[in-house]
Point group: C2
Chain length 240, copies 2
DNA sequence: TTGCGCAAAATTGCATTCATTTTTTGCTTT
DNA sequence: AAAGCAAAAAATGAATGCAATTTTGCGCAA
Protein backbone atom coordinates (compact mmCIF):
# COMPACT_ATOMS: atom_id res chain seq x y z
CA UNK A 1 0.00 0.00 0.00
CA UNK A 2 1.15 3.48 -0.79
CA UNK A 3 1.03 4.89 2.70
CA UNK A 4 3.59 2.46 3.97
CA UNK A 5 6.40 4.06 2.06
CA UNK A 6 5.26 7.57 2.75
CA UNK A 7 4.97 6.92 6.42
CA UNK A 8 8.32 5.28 6.59
CA UNK A 9 10.08 8.14 4.96
CA UNK A 10 8.14 10.68 6.94
CA UNK A 11 8.81 8.92 10.22
CA UNK A 12 12.49 8.74 9.59
CA UNK A 13 12.65 12.33 8.62
CA UNK A 14 15.65 13.39 6.63
CA UNK A 15 18.30 12.35 9.09
CA UNK A 16 17.39 9.34 11.15
CA UNK A 17 18.14 5.97 9.65
CA UNK A 18 17.07 2.64 10.98
CA UNK A 19 20.28 0.73 10.95
CA UNK A 20 18.76 -2.69 11.00
CA UNK A 21 21.43 -5.04 12.25
CA UNK A 22 23.44 -6.27 9.33
CA UNK A 23 20.97 -7.23 6.68
CA UNK A 24 21.24 -5.70 3.29
CA UNK A 25 23.09 -2.41 3.31
CA UNK A 26 20.67 0.01 4.81
CA UNK A 27 23.05 2.62 3.61
CA UNK A 28 23.64 5.53 5.85
CA UNK A 29 22.63 9.12 5.94
CA UNK A 30 22.32 9.59 2.18
CA UNK A 31 19.10 10.14 0.38
CA UNK A 32 20.06 7.45 -2.06
CA UNK A 33 20.68 4.96 0.71
CA UNK A 34 17.44 5.53 2.51
CA UNK A 35 15.49 5.56 -0.67
CA UNK A 36 17.08 2.30 -1.71
CA UNK A 37 16.10 0.59 1.51
CA UNK A 38 12.58 2.01 1.43
CA UNK A 39 12.03 1.06 -2.16
CA UNK A 40 13.42 -2.41 -1.62
CA UNK A 41 11.05 -3.00 1.25
CA UNK A 42 8.22 -1.54 -0.76
CA UNK A 43 8.78 -4.08 -3.50
CA UNK A 44 9.72 -7.04 -1.32
CA UNK A 45 6.62 -6.57 0.75
CA UNK A 46 4.58 -7.01 -2.36
CA UNK A 47 3.10 -3.55 -2.73
CA UNK A 48 3.37 -3.87 -6.46
CA UNK A 49 1.89 -6.63 -8.53
CA UNK A 50 4.09 -9.16 -10.23
CA UNK A 51 5.25 -7.73 -13.51
CA UNK A 52 3.77 -4.36 -12.74
CA UNK A 53 5.51 -1.33 -14.08
CA UNK A 54 7.43 0.57 -11.43
CA UNK A 55 5.98 4.07 -11.78
CA UNK A 56 8.99 6.35 -11.79
CA UNK A 57 7.14 9.61 -11.91
CA UNK A 58 4.66 8.57 -9.26
CA UNK A 59 7.28 7.33 -6.83
CA UNK A 60 9.18 10.57 -7.22
CA UNK A 61 6.17 12.55 -6.15
CA UNK A 62 5.41 10.16 -3.37
CA UNK A 63 8.91 10.28 -1.94
CA UNK A 64 9.28 13.94 -2.67
CA UNK A 65 12.51 13.54 -4.57
CA UNK A 66 13.72 13.98 -8.10
CA UNK A 67 14.25 11.24 -10.60
CA UNK A 68 18.02 11.06 -10.27
CA UNK A 69 18.26 9.29 -6.90
CA UNK A 70 15.24 7.17 -7.69
CA UNK A 71 16.77 5.94 -10.89
CA UNK A 72 20.01 5.16 -9.08
CA UNK A 73 18.04 3.04 -6.64
CA UNK A 74 16.23 1.27 -9.46
CA UNK A 75 19.52 0.33 -11.05
CA UNK A 76 20.66 -1.23 -7.79
CA UNK A 77 17.39 -3.09 -7.29
CA UNK A 78 17.73 -4.43 -10.80
CA UNK A 79 21.20 -5.70 -10.00
CA UNK A 80 19.76 -7.38 -6.93
CA UNK A 81 17.28 -9.16 -9.13
CA UNK A 82 14.12 -7.60 -7.75
CA UNK A 83 13.14 -5.73 -10.88
CA UNK A 84 13.85 -5.83 -14.57
CA UNK A 85 14.96 -2.77 -16.47
CA UNK A 86 13.75 -2.73 -20.02
CA UNK A 87 15.61 -0.23 -22.19
CA UNK A 88 13.43 2.81 -22.82
CA UNK A 89 10.53 0.95 -21.31
CA UNK A 90 10.99 1.41 -17.61
CA UNK A 91 11.27 -0.93 -14.67
CA UNK A 92 9.01 -3.85 -13.94
CA UNK A 93 8.71 -6.06 -10.91
CA UNK A 94 10.47 -9.25 -11.82
CA UNK A 95 8.16 -12.17 -12.34
CA UNK A 96 9.59 -15.42 -11.07
CA UNK A 97 8.94 -18.40 -13.26
CA UNK A 98 8.72 -21.87 -11.76
CA UNK A 99 12.26 -22.36 -12.99
CA UNK A 100 13.47 -19.17 -11.36
CA UNK A 101 11.95 -20.32 -8.12
CA UNK A 102 13.60 -23.67 -8.39
CA UNK A 103 16.92 -21.94 -8.86
CA UNK A 104 16.43 -19.51 -6.02
CA UNK A 105 15.37 -22.22 -3.60
CA UNK A 106 18.39 -24.29 -4.48
CA UNK A 107 20.72 -21.35 -3.94
CA UNK A 108 19.02 -20.63 -0.64
CA UNK A 109 19.58 -24.27 0.22
CA UNK A 110 23.23 -24.00 -0.66
CA UNK A 111 23.63 -20.86 1.42
CA UNK A 112 21.91 -22.45 4.39
CA UNK A 113 24.05 -25.54 3.97
CA UNK A 114 27.10 -23.32 4.07
CA UNK A 115 25.78 -21.45 7.07
CA UNK A 116 25.27 -24.71 8.91
CA UNK A 117 28.74 -25.90 8.06
CA UNK A 118 30.35 -22.70 9.23
CA UNK A 119 28.14 -22.49 12.29
CA UNK A 120 29.36 -25.90 13.44
CA UNK A 121 32.90 -24.58 13.45
CA UNK A 122 32.29 -21.73 15.82
CA UNK A 123 28.91 -21.90 17.52
CA UNK A 124 28.91 -21.69 21.30
CA UNK A 125 26.90 -23.85 23.67
CA UNK A 126 24.92 -20.78 24.62
CA UNK A 127 23.94 -20.13 21.02
CA UNK A 128 22.88 -23.73 20.62
CA UNK A 129 20.81 -23.44 23.78
CA UNK A 130 19.14 -20.37 22.30
CA UNK A 131 18.28 -22.24 19.14
CA UNK A 132 16.99 -25.17 21.18
CA UNK A 133 14.74 -22.80 23.05
CA UNK A 134 13.20 -21.51 19.83
CA UNK A 135 13.05 -25.04 18.51
CA UNK A 136 10.95 -26.17 21.45
CA UNK A 137 8.75 -23.15 21.12
CA UNK A 138 8.28 -24.09 17.49
CA UNK A 139 7.42 -27.62 18.50
CA UNK A 140 4.67 -26.34 20.77
CA UNK A 141 3.26 -24.33 17.89
CA UNK A 142 3.43 -27.46 15.79
CA UNK A 143 1.45 -29.45 18.34
CA UNK A 144 -1.15 -26.71 18.50
CA UNK A 145 -1.22 -26.51 14.71
CA UNK A 146 -0.42 -22.80 14.96
CA UNK A 147 1.05 -22.11 11.56
CA UNK A 148 1.83 -18.47 12.10
CA UNK A 149 3.79 -19.09 15.27
CA UNK A 150 5.47 -22.07 13.70
CA UNK A 151 6.67 -20.08 10.73
CA UNK A 152 7.89 -17.29 12.94
CA UNK A 153 10.05 -19.70 14.93
CA UNK A 154 11.13 -21.55 11.84
CA UNK A 155 12.46 -18.41 10.22
CA UNK A 156 14.08 -17.38 13.45
CA UNK A 157 15.99 -20.65 13.69
CA UNK A 158 17.30 -20.35 10.18
CA UNK A 159 18.24 -16.76 10.84
CA UNK A 160 20.11 -17.79 13.97
CA UNK A 161 22.08 -20.43 12.10
CA UNK A 162 23.11 -17.91 9.49
CA UNK A 163 24.01 -15.55 12.28
CA UNK A 164 26.06 -18.21 14.03
CA UNK A 165 28.06 -18.75 10.86
CA UNK A 166 29.73 -15.45 11.57
CA UNK A 167 30.13 -14.47 7.95
CA UNK A 168 28.80 -11.06 6.95
CA UNK A 169 29.16 -11.70 3.24
CA UNK A 170 27.10 -14.85 3.56
CA UNK A 171 24.54 -13.07 5.65
CA UNK A 172 24.12 -10.27 3.14
CA UNK A 173 23.86 -12.69 0.23
CA UNK A 174 21.36 -14.79 2.13
CA UNK A 175 19.29 -11.72 2.91
CA UNK A 176 19.30 -10.78 -0.75
CA UNK A 177 17.96 -14.13 -1.86
CA UNK A 178 15.46 -14.23 0.96
CA UNK A 179 14.14 -10.90 -0.26
CA UNK A 180 13.78 -12.15 -3.80
CA UNK A 181 11.82 -15.16 -2.67
CA UNK A 182 9.79 -13.40 -0.03
CA UNK A 183 7.46 -11.97 -2.64
CA UNK A 184 6.24 -15.46 -3.33
CA UNK A 185 3.58 -16.81 -1.07
CA UNK A 186 4.23 -20.43 -0.41
CA UNK A 187 3.21 -20.79 3.19
CA UNK A 188 -0.30 -22.15 3.22
CA UNK A 189 0.55 -25.63 2.07
CA UNK A 190 1.64 -27.10 5.38
CA UNK A 191 -1.94 -26.82 6.54
CA UNK A 192 -3.14 -29.05 3.75
CA UNK A 193 -0.17 -31.35 3.88
CA UNK A 194 0.16 -32.67 7.38
CA UNK A 195 2.79 -35.16 6.33
CA UNK A 196 5.07 -32.43 5.10
CA UNK A 197 4.67 -30.54 8.32
CA UNK A 198 5.61 -33.56 10.38
CA UNK A 199 8.51 -34.25 8.08
CA UNK A 200 9.73 -30.67 8.40
CA UNK A 201 9.54 -31.01 12.17
CA UNK A 202 11.64 -34.16 12.06
CA UNK A 203 14.15 -32.46 9.80
CA UNK A 204 14.46 -29.72 12.36
CA UNK A 205 15.17 -32.31 15.01
CA UNK A 206 17.95 -33.65 12.81
CA UNK A 207 19.27 -30.12 12.27
CA UNK A 208 19.51 -29.55 15.98
CA UNK A 209 21.11 -32.92 16.51
CA UNK A 210 23.82 -32.32 13.92
CA UNK A 211 24.40 -28.88 15.33
CA UNK A 212 24.86 -30.24 18.83
CA UNK A 213 27.43 -32.69 17.53
CA UNK A 214 29.03 -29.92 15.50
CA UNK A 215 28.88 -32.18 12.49
CA UNK A 216 29.31 -29.61 9.76
CA UNK A 217 29.03 -31.69 6.64
CA UNK A 218 26.10 -33.61 8.05
CA UNK A 219 24.25 -30.45 8.96
CA UNK A 220 25.11 -29.09 5.55
CA UNK A 221 23.41 -32.05 3.89
CA UNK A 222 20.38 -31.88 6.11
CA UNK A 223 19.86 -28.19 5.55
CA UNK A 224 20.13 -28.50 1.81
CA UNK A 225 17.66 -31.35 1.77
CA UNK A 226 15.40 -29.43 4.11
CA UNK A 227 15.21 -26.58 1.64
CA UNK A 228 14.81 -29.02 -1.20
CA UNK A 229 11.79 -30.52 0.45
CA UNK A 230 10.43 -27.11 1.24
CA UNK A 231 10.74 -26.26 -2.42
CA UNK A 232 8.99 -29.41 -3.49
CA UNK A 233 6.13 -28.74 -1.11
CA UNK A 234 5.89 -25.18 -2.37
CA UNK A 235 5.82 -26.32 -5.95
CA UNK A 236 3.28 -29.00 -5.27
CA UNK A 237 1.00 -26.22 -4.14
CA UNK A 238 1.33 -24.55 -7.51
CA UNK A 239 -0.05 -27.60 -9.21
CA UNK A 240 -2.93 -28.31 -6.84
CA UNK B 1 25.85 2.78 -35.03
CA UNK B 2 27.26 5.11 -32.47
CA UNK B 3 30.60 4.50 -30.92
CA UNK B 4 30.19 2.39 -27.84
CA UNK B 5 31.66 2.97 -24.45
CA UNK B 6 33.83 -0.02 -25.00
CA UNK B 7 35.20 1.48 -28.16
CA UNK B 8 36.02 4.65 -26.36
CA UNK B 9 37.83 2.75 -23.68
CA UNK B 10 39.71 0.72 -26.23
CA UNK B 11 40.58 3.88 -28.15
CA UNK B 12 42.13 5.30 -25.06
CA UNK B 13 44.09 2.10 -24.69
CA UNK B 14 42.81 1.81 -21.17
CA UNK B 15 42.07 -1.88 -21.55
CA UNK B 16 40.19 -4.06 -23.96
CA UNK B 17 36.89 -5.41 -22.78
CA UNK B 18 35.80 -8.87 -23.64
CA UNK B 19 32.21 -9.93 -23.62
CA UNK B 20 32.74 -13.01 -21.53
CA UNK B 21 29.90 -15.49 -22.01
CA UNK B 22 27.22 -15.34 -19.40
CA UNK B 23 28.93 -13.86 -16.43
CA UNK B 24 27.45 -10.92 -14.63
CA UNK B 25 24.67 -9.15 -16.47
CA UNK B 26 26.32 -7.52 -19.41
CA UNK B 27 23.26 -5.42 -19.74
CA UNK B 28 21.96 -4.66 -23.15
CA UNK B 29 22.31 -1.84 -25.54
CA UNK B 30 22.03 0.89 -22.93
CA UNK B 31 24.80 3.26 -22.10
CA UNK B 32 24.36 2.44 -18.45
CA UNK B 33 24.65 -1.27 -19.08
CA UNK B 34 27.76 -1.06 -21.17
CA UNK B 35 29.32 1.40 -18.83
CA UNK B 36 28.59 -0.85 -15.88
CA UNK B 37 30.25 -3.83 -17.51
CA UNK B 38 33.22 -1.80 -18.67
CA UNK B 39 33.72 -0.16 -15.31
CA UNK B 40 33.38 -3.45 -13.47
CA UNK B 41 36.07 -5.01 -15.63
CA UNK B 42 38.19 -1.92 -15.25
CA UNK B 43 38.12 -2.29 -11.48
CA UNK B 44 38.21 -6.07 -11.29
CA UNK B 45 41.24 -6.17 -13.53
CA UNK B 46 43.06 -4.06 -11.04
CA UNK B 47 43.48 -0.83 -12.98
CA UNK B 48 42.98 1.07 -9.77
CA UNK B 49 44.96 0.63 -6.61
CA UNK B 50 43.37 -0.84 -3.52
CA UNK B 51 41.61 1.90 -1.65
CA UNK B 52 42.21 4.38 -4.41
CA UNK B 53 39.62 7.01 -5.01
CA UNK B 54 37.51 6.29 -8.07
CA UNK B 55 37.98 9.47 -10.08
CA UNK B 56 34.50 10.40 -11.16
CA UNK B 57 35.44 13.38 -13.23
CA UNK B 58 38.31 11.59 -14.94
CA UNK B 59 36.28 8.52 -15.81
CA UNK B 60 33.58 10.73 -17.29
CA UNK B 61 36.09 12.28 -19.63
CA UNK B 62 37.65 8.95 -20.45
CA UNK B 63 34.33 7.33 -21.25
CA UNK B 64 33.01 10.48 -22.87
CA UNK B 65 29.83 10.53 -20.84
CA UNK B 66 28.23 12.68 -18.21
CA UNK B 67 28.22 12.00 -14.52
CA UNK B 68 24.67 10.68 -14.32
CA UNK B 69 25.18 7.26 -15.90
CA UNK B 70 28.57 6.91 -14.29
CA UNK B 71 27.16 7.51 -10.86
CA UNK B 72 24.41 5.00 -11.51
CA UNK B 73 27.05 2.44 -12.35
CA UNK B 74 29.02 3.30 -9.22
CA UNK B 75 25.97 2.70 -7.08
CA UNK B 76 25.58 -0.76 -8.58
CA UNK B 77 29.25 -1.58 -8.19
CA UNK B 78 28.99 -0.55 -4.56
CA UNK B 79 26.06 -2.91 -4.08
CA UNK B 80 28.16 -5.64 -5.66
CA UNK B 81 30.84 -4.98 -3.07
CA UNK B 82 33.55 -3.81 -5.42
CA UNK B 83 33.74 -0.25 -4.17
CA UNK B 84 32.75 1.72 -1.11
CA UNK B 85 30.73 4.87 -1.36
CA UNK B 86 31.60 7.37 1.33
CA UNK B 87 28.95 10.04 1.75
CA UNK B 88 30.16 13.26 0.18
CA UNK B 89 33.59 11.77 -0.18
CA UNK B 90 33.35 9.76 -3.31
CA UNK B 91 33.92 6.15 -4.22
CA UNK B 92 36.92 4.09 -3.27
CA UNK B 93 38.07 0.69 -4.38
CA UNK B 94 37.14 -1.60 -1.54
CA UNK B 95 40.07 -2.88 0.42
CA UNK B 96 39.66 -6.46 1.53
CA UNK B 97 40.89 -7.18 4.99
CA UNK B 98 42.16 -10.62 5.91
CA UNK B 99 38.79 -11.21 7.50
CA UNK B 100 36.91 -10.13 4.38
CA UNK B 101 38.99 -12.54 2.38
CA UNK B 102 38.26 -15.34 4.78
CA UNK B 103 34.57 -14.63 4.42
CA UNK B 104 34.65 -14.40 0.67
CA UNK B 105 36.63 -17.60 0.28
CA UNK B 106 34.20 -19.44 2.51
CA UNK B 107 31.23 -18.20 0.53
CA UNK B 108 32.96 -19.20 -2.67
CA UNK B 109 33.51 -22.59 -1.10
CA UNK B 110 29.85 -22.83 -0.22
CA UNK B 111 28.81 -21.86 -3.72
CA UNK B 112 31.16 -24.37 -5.29
CA UNK B 113 29.91 -27.00 -2.89
CA UNK B 114 26.40 -26.23 -4.03
CA UNK B 115 27.44 -26.28 -7.66
CA UNK B 116 28.98 -29.70 -7.18
CA UNK B 117 25.88 -31.01 -5.47
CA UNK B 118 23.60 -29.76 -8.20
CA UNK B 119 25.95 -30.85 -10.93
CA UNK B 120 25.81 -34.43 -9.67
CA UNK B 121 22.07 -34.41 -10.16
CA UNK B 122 22.12 -33.54 -13.81
CA UNK B 123 25.56 -33.77 -15.34
CA UNK B 124 25.86 -35.90 -18.46
CA UNK B 125 28.58 -38.40 -19.21
CA UNK B 126 29.74 -36.15 -22.00
CA UNK B 127 30.16 -33.20 -19.65
CA UNK B 128 32.13 -35.37 -17.26
CA UNK B 129 34.32 -36.51 -20.10
CA UNK B 130 34.95 -32.86 -20.96
CA UNK B 131 35.98 -32.13 -17.41
CA UNK B 132 38.21 -35.18 -17.37
CA UNK B 133 39.89 -33.93 -20.49
CA UNK B 134 40.72 -30.60 -18.87
CA UNK B 135 41.69 -32.41 -15.70
CA UNK B 136 44.29 -34.46 -17.54
CA UNK B 137 45.55 -31.40 -19.31
CA UNK B 138 45.89 -29.79 -15.92
CA UNK B 139 47.77 -32.81 -14.65
CA UNK B 140 50.27 -32.46 -17.47
CA UNK B 141 50.80 -28.83 -16.54
CA UNK B 142 51.30 -29.95 -12.97
CA UNK B 143 53.96 -32.44 -13.97
CA UNK B 144 55.70 -29.77 -16.01
CA UNK B 145 55.36 -27.33 -13.12
CA UNK B 146 53.63 -24.91 -15.48
CA UNK B 147 51.71 -22.75 -13.07
CA UNK B 148 50.03 -20.58 -15.63
CA UNK B 149 48.63 -23.48 -17.59
CA UNK B 150 47.68 -25.22 -14.39
CA UNK B 151 45.69 -22.27 -13.15
CA UNK B 152 43.99 -21.84 -16.45
CA UNK B 153 42.77 -25.44 -16.37
CA UNK B 154 41.94 -25.24 -12.71
CA UNK B 155 39.65 -22.27 -13.21
CA UNK B 156 38.15 -23.90 -16.24
CA UNK B 157 37.23 -27.01 -14.27
CA UNK B 158 35.55 -25.04 -11.55
CA UNK B 159 33.73 -23.00 -14.16
CA UNK B 160 32.54 -26.16 -15.83
CA UNK B 161 31.19 -27.55 -12.58
CA UNK B 162 29.26 -24.36 -11.94
CA UNK B 163 28.03 -24.52 -15.50
CA UNK B 164 26.96 -28.13 -15.09
CA UNK B 165 24.89 -27.16 -12.06
CA UNK B 166 22.45 -25.56 -14.48
CA UNK B 167 21.49 -22.76 -12.17
CA UNK B 168 21.74 -19.24 -13.57
CA UNK B 169 21.21 -17.57 -10.20
CA UNK B 170 24.07 -19.57 -8.75
CA UNK B 171 26.24 -18.80 -11.73
CA UNK B 172 25.66 -15.07 -11.46
CA UNK B 173 26.29 -15.06 -7.72
CA UNK B 174 29.41 -17.12 -8.19
CA UNK B 175 30.65 -14.72 -10.85
CA UNK B 176 30.05 -11.81 -8.51
CA UNK B 177 32.13 -13.28 -5.74
CA UNK B 178 34.81 -14.40 -8.16
CA UNK B 179 35.07 -10.81 -9.33
CA UNK B 180 35.42 -9.50 -5.82
CA UNK B 181 38.21 -11.92 -5.07
CA UNK B 182 39.92 -11.67 -8.41
CA UNK B 183 41.52 -8.38 -7.47
CA UNK B 184 43.59 -10.23 -4.91
CA UNK B 185 46.70 -11.89 -6.13
CA UNK B 186 47.11 -15.17 -4.36
CA UNK B 187 48.57 -17.32 -7.04
CA UNK B 188 52.30 -17.39 -6.54
CA UNK B 189 52.25 -19.54 -3.46
CA UNK B 190 51.93 -22.92 -5.11
CA UNK B 191 55.40 -22.43 -6.51
CA UNK B 192 56.87 -22.09 -3.05
CA UNK B 193 54.66 -24.71 -1.51
CA UNK B 194 55.07 -27.88 -3.45
CA UNK B 195 53.11 -29.86 -0.90
CA UNK B 196 50.05 -27.70 -1.36
CA UNK B 197 50.24 -28.11 -5.09
CA UNK B 198 50.34 -31.86 -4.81
CA UNK B 199 47.53 -31.79 -2.31
CA UNK B 200 45.43 -29.64 -4.63
CA UNK B 201 46.06 -32.10 -7.39
CA UNK B 202 44.90 -34.98 -5.22
CA UNK B 203 41.82 -33.02 -4.24
CA UNK B 204 41.02 -32.60 -7.88
CA UNK B 205 41.29 -36.34 -8.35
CA UNK B 206 38.78 -36.75 -5.56
CA UNK B 207 36.51 -34.15 -7.12
CA UNK B 208 36.47 -36.02 -10.38
CA UNK B 209 35.91 -39.30 -8.61
CA UNK B 210 32.91 -38.02 -6.68
CA UNK B 211 31.55 -36.45 -9.82
CA UNK B 212 31.81 -39.72 -11.73
CA UNK B 213 29.90 -41.45 -8.97
CA UNK B 214 27.41 -38.58 -8.89
CA UNK B 215 27.87 -38.42 -5.16
CA UNK B 216 26.51 -34.95 -4.51
CA UNK B 217 27.04 -34.55 -0.82
CA UNK B 218 30.50 -36.04 -1.03
CA UNK B 219 31.51 -33.73 -3.84
CA UNK B 220 30.00 -30.90 -1.88
CA UNK B 221 32.27 -31.65 1.06
CA UNK B 222 35.35 -32.05 -1.08
CA UNK B 223 34.79 -28.80 -2.92
CA UNK B 224 34.25 -26.85 0.25
CA UNK B 225 37.40 -28.27 1.78
CA UNK B 226 39.26 -27.66 -1.44
CA UNK B 227 38.43 -23.97 -1.25
CA UNK B 228 39.21 -23.99 2.46
CA UNK B 229 42.68 -25.29 1.77
CA UNK B 230 43.13 -22.84 -1.04
CA UNK B 231 42.25 -20.08 1.35
CA UNK B 232 44.68 -21.32 3.95
CA UNK B 233 47.43 -21.47 1.39
CA UNK B 234 46.61 -17.99 0.20
CA UNK B 235 46.62 -16.64 3.71
CA UNK B 236 49.85 -18.39 4.58
CA UNK B 237 51.40 -16.37 1.80
CA UNK B 238 50.37 -13.16 3.50
CA UNK B 239 52.35 -14.11 6.53
CA UNK B 240 55.49 -15.42 4.88
C1' DT C 1 -17.35 -3.92 -34.08
C1' DT C 2 -12.56 -4.44 -35.01
C1' DG C 3 -8.22 -3.10 -36.74
C1' DC C 4 -5.00 0.39 -38.50
C1' DG C 5 -2.40 4.77 -38.77
C1' DC C 6 -0.83 8.84 -36.95
C1' DA C 7 -0.31 12.71 -33.97
C1' DA C 8 -0.27 14.06 -28.98
C1' DA C 9 1.23 13.00 -24.53
C1' DA C 10 3.94 10.68 -21.45
C1' DT C 11 8.17 8.34 -20.30
C1' DT C 12 12.87 7.42 -20.55
C1' DG C 13 18.04 8.28 -20.87
C1' DC C 14 21.33 11.30 -20.38
C1' DA C 15 23.38 16.08 -19.96
C1' DT C 16 23.54 20.09 -17.50
C1' DT C 17 22.92 23.06 -13.63
C1' DC C 18 22.81 24.28 -8.79
C1' DA C 19 23.45 24.05 -3.79
C1' DT C 20 26.54 21.74 -0.27
C1' DT C 21 30.27 19.75 1.39
C1' DT C 22 35.01 18.65 1.24
C1' DT C 23 39.67 19.56 -0.05
C1' DT C 24 43.25 22.50 -1.26
C1' DT C 25 45.75 26.72 -1.24
C1' DG C 26 47.87 30.58 0.57
C1' DC C 27 48.32 33.85 4.12
C1' DT C 28 49.04 34.95 8.89
C1' DT C 29 50.79 34.20 13.45
C1' DT C 30 53.79 32.39 16.73
C1' DA D 1 59.68 27.00 9.92
C1' DA D 2 55.46 24.96 11.69
C1' DA D 3 50.74 25.45 12.90
C1' DG D 4 46.39 27.61 12.35
C1' DC D 5 42.90 29.56 9.71
C1' DA D 6 40.21 31.61 5.89
C1' DA D 7 39.08 31.76 1.26
C1' DA D 8 39.24 29.56 -3.26
C1' DA D 9 38.78 25.49 -5.84
C1' DA D 10 37.07 21.11 -6.56
C1' DA D 11 34.04 17.33 -5.52
C1' DT D 12 29.72 15.47 -4.50
C1' DG D 13 24.44 14.88 -4.27
C1' DA D 14 20.38 15.99 -6.20
C1' DA D 15 17.23 18.82 -9.35
C1' DT D 16 16.15 20.30 -13.72
C1' DG D 17 16.27 20.43 -18.79
C1' DC D 18 16.14 18.34 -23.28
C1' DA D 19 16.29 15.09 -27.16
C1' DA D 20 14.70 10.53 -28.28
C1' DT D 21 11.69 6.68 -27.65
C1' DT D 22 7.49 4.63 -26.36
C1' DT D 23 2.72 4.68 -25.18
C1' DT D 24 -1.80 6.51 -25.66
C1' DG D 25 -5.83 8.52 -27.81
C1' DC D 26 -8.57 9.10 -31.61
C1' DG D 27 -10.29 9.24 -36.29
C1' DC D 28 -11.15 6.37 -40.07
C1' DA D 29 -11.70 2.38 -43.02
C1' DA D 30 -12.82 -2.51 -43.58
Amino acid sequence: MAETVLDRLADDGAGAVLTAPGELPRASATLHGELLAALRDYIVEGNLEDGARVPERLLCERFGISRTPLREALKVLASEGLIDLLPNRGARVRVLSADDLRELFDVMGGLEALAGRLACERISDEEIAEIERVHHEMYRFYLRRDMHGYFQCNQEIHRMIVEAAGNAALKATYAGFAGRIRRVRYSANLATDRDRWGEAMREHEAILDALRRRSGSELSDILFQHLRNKRKAAQAEDVG
